[in-house]
């Protein structure tokens, strides 16, 4: 065996690398003149120990997709990207977004980087840092360690086997690890032969500088599966992240998309979220022989769903379906939807651990904070999506039904935002118990029509909206507020809400390092529930619980427990569970919560219940209000009464776990609760319920009890 001299023998590649490396060598010589190797070695020895980058990149869960976020000013392929006045600030933003590793370019000539950048970043973050440079000499590896790096880059194409092996040994002897970068089958084989623990596939062709996003997939089978696999280049949007993650990438390295994004923190988070769901989906496909609960495009969900609608509306439903299918596949649409969700609606929403509430309940409760979205509930997700649909169809008038008023407010909001006309149908009884929301809609420029037919609640508002739609379908989009109705509404509304579950899942993995034991949500039509369930449908270990409005109790006629006590029928366009009498006449539902006061339920919930994937139980008014008060008092959060049904569900789960497993084991159990909305609108109802105001105090709320 020949003694390696450290002189840095590199391969001639016949690509852009050769010229870059020539420059790197010149700059290196200049630094070596200035600081002798012995001095660098001493600095390396004095530096704090290197962090474990392999673990960081493996993530906390088999499904997590980690991000190596890069501080990058310019590149040979794209030229100048961003000025980056303060690399430390940018790196800290990446860290906040959940980046596993920060990569810092230190090459000066083409990438405009420096060791100063590395120093600044090292000082600013507590996660592993990659020194990204063209390593051709031992000196650079010592130098990386001296400047606090935990990872170096070794490009297989630029090194012969012997040098590669030597550099890797030196790197590890200093406590660091190397990202071993490959471009071809042959290079992957060489990386495997030297025992690389982190293998990168750079999908940019060194000769043409073109990105080939499918390269990762083609090389996937050959990649060493015990190593951490990193996809590099072409990571410009969630779509590519999804592609790489599906093909088995454990991490992606991205710079350009982040330095150009207005919101680097949010973009890192979004990439991790998308990546984790794609990895989960790919895993579910492998382990369940292809059956995926989450693969549910409609029109049918098991025996539920379909299109039980007048022929007059079929053309409009066809048009909507076609527009939606095209939009889903359109990157521009996705970007627009994500931009509005992020910059207007305040996504992603937080996942808050409710410690004092947990203590009272006896298990760990995490709240998915949809109450913090613009307009105060999850409803904004769906209206933004559907308003963009309306725009694509050239329709400028939006109509909507509303129960609690949350969906009406959200629709009025988006109509104002996009300059559209808006008419909201609301049961007369609901306009009285939610008078504040009526005022909000009118302030936003919408017309609110009180519906005086039938039971004067949500179902009658839907009937009236459908009557409007039949007569106005050429110019009007019916912006249905829940994941119910005729195809494509259930699948489409769910799609716009799936981000709730995707985020919650990724946040759980990041915050707890594991999936929750259960997910709980309230179910009226079921849009927040189906949105949060979807991220977890293929995780067999996660129990899914839907909580319906039990009103005065299931032993009374006054409730809205559609799945618990209903039977299948057709209403509002779908075959689903209904509250109906023997003749098929709809029975009036009752709940203290206007938003759950609906005698049908989205067809996908009917299917998940019939198939046993999700469990639905009723929560009475009184149980919901107890949970409402408990959250107010323990967490300083006033929840919507709708969401309080899910909170009451968590209380029940906690009790059940304590009974079955004992206090200690129950305290370790985790339930994620969809806190679908905030409770400002319910203050009058709650004050009356708890006897805080006299019965006559608030006339507008007269009918709430």
């Amino acid at each position: 065996m020949t003694q390696y001299t450290g002189a840095g023998r590199a391969e001639t590649t016949g690509t852009v690398l050769d010229a870059i490396i020539a420059g790197v060598r010149e700059d290196l010589a200049a630094r070596q003149e200035l600081i002798p190797l012995e001095e660098i070695k001493a600095a390396a020895a004095a530096a704090p120990a290197a962090l474990d980058a392999v673990s960081a990149l493996r993530g906390t869960h088999p499904d997590s997709l980690e991000v190596i976020a890069e501080v990058k000013r310019s590149s040979p392929s794209k030229g100048a990207l961003a000025p980056i006045a303060d690399p430390a600030l940018l790196a800290a933003a990446y860290e906040r977004g959940g980046a596993a590793v920060i990569s810092v370019l230190t090459e000066a000539r083409r990438f405009n980087g420096s060791l100063e950048d590395l120093d600044a970043v090292r000082a600013a973050v507590g996660i592993p840092v990659l020194r990204k440079d063209f390593t051709v000499d031992d000196y650079q590896i010592w130098e990386a360690r001296a400047h606090g790096a935990d990872l170096v880059l070794l490009i297989v194409a630029a090194l012969d086997d012997e040098t590669l092996r030597h550099f890797l040994e030196l790197t590890r002897s200093l406590g660091m690890e190397a990202l071993v970068e490959t471009h071809t089958d042959e290079e992957v084989e060489r990386a495997r032969a030297v025992g690389a623990k982190i293998v990168g596939v750079n999908t940019r062709n060194l000769k043409t500088l073109e990105v080939d996003p499918d390269l990762f997939g083609r090389l996937a089978e050959k990649l060493p599966h015990d190593a951490v696999l990193v996809a590099e280049s072409g990571v410009s949007s969630g779509e590519q992240v999804e592609l790489y993650a599906r093909h088995g990438a454990d991490a992606v390295l991205t710079g350009e998309a982040l330095v150009r994004a207005g919101d680097p923190t949010g973009t890192v988070t979004a990439f991790r979220t998308v990546g984790a769901s794609a990895r989960a989906a790919a895993r579910a496909e492998r382990t369940t022989g292809g059956h995926r609960w989450s693969e549910a495009p409609g029109p049918y969900f098991g025996e539920f769903g379909g299109r039980w609608m007048p022929e007059s509306l079929i053309a409009a439903l066809d048009q909507l379906e076609e527009t939606f299918e095209k939009a889903k596949a359109d990157v521009e649409f996705q970007q627009e939807f994500q931009r509005l969700s992020r910059d207007y609606a305040n996504r992603p929403s937080l996942l808050t651990e409710a410690e004092r509430f947990s203590e009272a309940v006896g298990c760990r409760v995490l709240l998915k904070r949809e109450d913090l979205n613009h307009t105060g509930s999850h409803k904004i997700n769906n209206v933004l999506g559907q308003a963009l649909m309306a725009k694509r169809m050239g329709k400028h008038r939006l109509i909507a039904e509303t129960g609690a008023g949350q969906h009406g407010v959200a629709t009025a909001t988006v109509a104002a935002l996009m300059g559209m006309e808006c008419v909201v149908y609301m049961g007369e009884e609901d306009t009285q118990r939610q008078a504040l929301n009526v005022a909000r809609m009118e302030l936003l420029g919408a017309t609110v029509v009180p519906v005086k037919n039938g039971s004067r609640t949500l179902k009658d508002a839907i009937n009236e909206a459908l009557r409007d739609w039949v007569a106005s379908v050429d110019t009007t989009h019916y912006l249905l507020g829940t994941a119910a109705g005729a195809h494509p509404f259930p699948a489409m509304v769910r799609w716009f809400h799936q981000q709730i579950g995707d985020e919650a899942r990724a946040q759980c993995l990041a915050q707890l390092g594991r999936l929750p034991d259960a997910v709980a949500a309230c179910v009226g039509g079921g849009s927040n529930a189906i949105g949060i369930f979807h991220g977890f449908l293929d995780d067999e270990s996660v129990e899914l619980w839907g909580f319906e409005a039990g009103g005065d109790g299931l032993d009374t006629p006054r409730h809205a427990a559609t799945i618990s006590l209903g039977r299948p029928g057709v209403m509002h366009g779908a075959r689903t569970y209904l509250m109906q009498d023997e003749d098929g006449q709809t029975i009036e539902s009752h709940s203290i919560s206007a938003g759950l006061d609906y005698p049908a339920v989205g067809p996908e919930h009917a299917h998940l219940s019939a198939a046993g994937r999700a469990t639905y139980e009723a929560v009475t008014d009184s149980e919901a209000m107890d949970a409402f008060r408990l959250l107010c008092r323990t967490e300083g959060i006033i929840p919507a009464i709708e969401s309080s049904h899910a909170l009451a569900g968590a209380v029940k789960l906690g009790r059940r776990w304590r009974d079955e497993l004992g206090e200690e084991a129950a305290a370790e159990k985790v339930v994620v609760v969809s806190l679908s909305g905030r409770g400002d609108k319910d203050v009058a109802t709650a004050a009356k319920w708890f006897g805080m105001v006299s019965e006559n105090h608030d006339e507008m709320d007269e009918e709430a009890q």
Binding site: P310, I314, G454, D460, V470, V570
Partner: protein
């Protein structure tokens, strides 16, 4: 040898027995009107409005004053295709205790006491809850000829195809101005007796001027192969009947009759019917 899978809606959705023509009282009656050089007069009244007895008297008056075909509506809690007049009537019927099985009493009275051909018009959930086959059997036994299904499209009608063939009932589906050519063909082929052409985009209700879209819907239905096309929504006067009768095989009157019943009882229904039929 592999058989090519036909992709069009008709071959995908319609079973062979639906495409096979068969004798129908309804078709025969419309053909007879055509032979007499006039459109069939099709009248609608809801069962149980204002009471079961009066709804029977009104239906008989309708049949004995010139209606060729009588549609008896089943009051339903969520009538999304109906305007305020019919909504009010069906809500009243329900409030007065109407039960679905009573529709067969009304049908039987028409079948035995008049010459008109009785059919049922109903939203689909009440039929589904009674059991599609059971409902069809009971309707046939009462002397009913078929069902008009305003919120059932052929795409969801597999069970109804089977039951209607078994019990010899006509399937009257609706076509609309918004129906695509492909859907027009599907719906026409799925229907028997006649095709119900919706003349305006909107809910039921009398209108002063009958929509100009009506003629084009009728033409398109004929082009798709419909033998008998009846037009509804908006008719309230004899002149409407004459106007529509120039191109349609039957003219459907609903809201105007319900209004007459509400204001003047069964006698007013008889009077309006005679007027619409050109007998007064």
């Amino acid at each position: 040898m592999t058989v090519e899978q036909p992709a069009d809606l008709v071959s995908r959705i319609l079973p062979a027995e639906v495409l096979t023509p068969r004798d129908s009282r309804l078709s025969a009656r419309i053909a007879q009107c055509r032979a007499e050089g006039r459109p069939a007069l099709v009248g609608y009244l809801p069962a149980g409005y204002p009471t079961l007895e009066e709804s029977i008297d009104a239906a008989v008056a309708l049949g004995n004053n010139g209606a060729d075909v009588i549609e008896i509506g089943i009051p339903y809690s969520d009538p999304v295709m109906d305007g305020s007049v019919i909504q009010h009537a069906t809500t009243t019927a329900l409030a007065n205790g109407f039960r679905v099985a009573q529709v067969f009493e009304v049908i039987e009275a028409i079948a035995t006491r008049t010459d008109a051909v009785p059919i049922v018009m109903t939203y689909w959930n009440p039929v589904m809850q009674r059991g599609v086959d059971r409902f069809a059997r009971e309707l046939a036994q009462a002397g009913g000829a078929g069902i008009i299904t305003p919120d059932l499209i052929p795409d969801e009608a597999a069970e109804w195809f089977e039951a209607s063939v078994r019990h010899g009932l006509d399937r009257i589906f609706l076509v609309a101005p918004s129906s695509s050519r492909e859907r027009m063909e599907l719906t026409v082929k799925a229907s028997s007796g006649f095709v119900y052409a919706v003349s305006v985009m909107g809910v039921t209700g009398a209108r002063d001027v009958v929509s100009s879209a009506a003629e084009s819907v009728v033409e398109r239905a004929r082009a798709a192969g419909a033998e008998n096309v009846c037009v509804g929504l908006g008719v309230s006067r004899r002149e409407h009947v004459e106007e529509l009768g120039a191109y349609a095989d039957g003219v459907i009157v609903g809201t105007a009759l319900v209004k007459a019943l509400g204001e003047g009882g069964p006698a007013a229904v008889g009077k309006l019917t005679a007027e619409l039929a050109g007998r007064s």
